[in-house]
Amino acid sequence: MKKKLIALLCVTAVVMGMTACGSDSKENKEEAKGEEKKTIRLAAGDPMKEELINAIKGDFEKKGYKLEVSVIEDPIASNNAIEEGSLEANFIQHNAYMTSYNEEHKGDLVAVGDAIYYPCMGVYSNKVKDMKDLTEGMEIGIPRDPTNRSRALRFLEAEGLLKLKEGVEEYSQLEIEENKLNLKLTEVDSESIPTILDDLDAGICYPIAMKEAGFDPESALAFDPPEIGKEYGILIAVSEKNKDAQWAKDLQEAMSEEKANEIIMEYFGESAVHVSEY
């Protein structure tokens, strides 16, 4: 008898919990349908972006909104959240990534406007001082995630060190046709590259990773050229239906203010980032 009572209590608790969850998301959906969106939920891709958003939060909220900022590091989860209605916008990705997400997940994400900033990708090294000093058989660390790996490989091609197959959208090491110096390209987590530079001859990563590891983001041997860089600007993404919403435009404006640009330039260093269209 006692066992049956406990079992019944557990089942009741679970059912009540599930109903509560259900009604919660229903409330959000009702608010989402409303014409005047007041509470904007924005997910940043990392703490640095979160800081940037918080810096302009006051100016944005003056226009009558409430901004809820969170950090979601996984871009797939972050994009899925917009698609399912748990977020209004995110600030995490560049156009190349967003496009590939839309293709594979039948998503409808669009950028509100131009990218907020364009981080350059740099070749950093603790062992060589110049790109010309890269010699036969050296080991270069590159990001292992698909979009940034592709950018690193295109960067190496632009520096004349690799030749890649033509007409490919996203490059991996399988599309390398020629590796003039027989460089060993080791794929690692791009955030780890600054810490392991002593184990490599050079590493290709973003200035933000160098900065967060305590190194100088502007100390690159080279940055990738604007022709490549302009595709990788970090933008504010929203669902297609909100593209022309007033709040979206206001958010874009707040993030493009001079104050925001100054923060970005100070954080990365002027040579490592672009804040306006190339």
Partner: protein, 218 residues
């Protein structure tokens, strides 16, 4: 998206070899070191053959502390040590260092349990016959515990296989890395679930071998 056949041949097969390499050597080294730790723990315990309170306590704390670290956290925390010991902090060989450090405490605990489960009566009888501690440990306890230790080793192998899936973050490759990068991040379900399937087959095989050994040896 990459052509699946090419990915299977050029990425998954090498990754399978990397995973097996890390799992095999990780198991060998952690079992040797872990067994040593387990013997010390069993012997110096209060009810052991040669109680030494402080040695036991210290070792206990060490084992518990190391067990608390998730593999990838430990791996990045000890990068300078790995570099000093292995010469580099990236690649399959370098990954063995944190893998073994994380697995040792786990091995020590399971082997400790196996050794302690040997019937106290047998140990008492051996003592009565005038057996030395070394003889008791290796001829009685180890011999009796070997069948269950096979089951334990099976657990260890599968656990190390799991830890090694994170080793890709530091350039060690492996199947976990393939599933994450070429599967999930490249939006390729075929590769992601295909890799999972290979892992399921591997684990099943390892478990079956363990069970077979247990039945043959008991």
């Amino acid at each position: 998206m990459n052509d699946p056949a090419l990915v299977i041949k050029s990425v998954m097969m090498p990754a399978l070899v990397e995973s097996l390499y890390m799992t095999f050597w990780g198991t060998v080294f952690s079992c040797i070191l872990g067994f040593g730790l387990a013997v010390i723990l069993v012997v110096t315990a209060e009810d052991g053959l040669s109680p030494h309170k402080w040695v036991y306590r210290l070792l206990n704390v060490l084992v518990n502390t190391l067990r608390s670290f998730p593999f990838i956290i430990l791996a990045v925390t000890i990068i300078p040590i790995t570099r000093a010991v292995m010469g580099t902090s990236i690649g399959t060989n370098a990954a063995l260092f944190p893998l073994v450090i994380v697995a040792c405490p786990f091995v020590a605990r399971v082997f400790e349990g196996n050794l302690k489960a040997v019937t106290p009566g047998m140990i008492e009888a051996a003592k009565a016959f005038g057996a030395s501690n070394m003889q008791i440990i290796f001829k009685i306890m180890l011999k009796e515990a070997i069948p269950v230790m096979c089951i334990s080793v099976t657990l260890v192998v599968i656990s190390i296989l799991g830890s090694s899936s994170m080793a890709g973050a530091l350039g060690a490759g492996g199947l976990g890395n393939v599933a994450l990068i070429y599967g999930y991040q490249s939006f390729n379900d075929l590769i992601m679930y295909g890799t999972v399937f290979i892992l399921v087959v591997l684990v099943q095989t390892i478990q079956s071998i363990g069970n077979l050994l247990y039945n043959k040896l008991k």
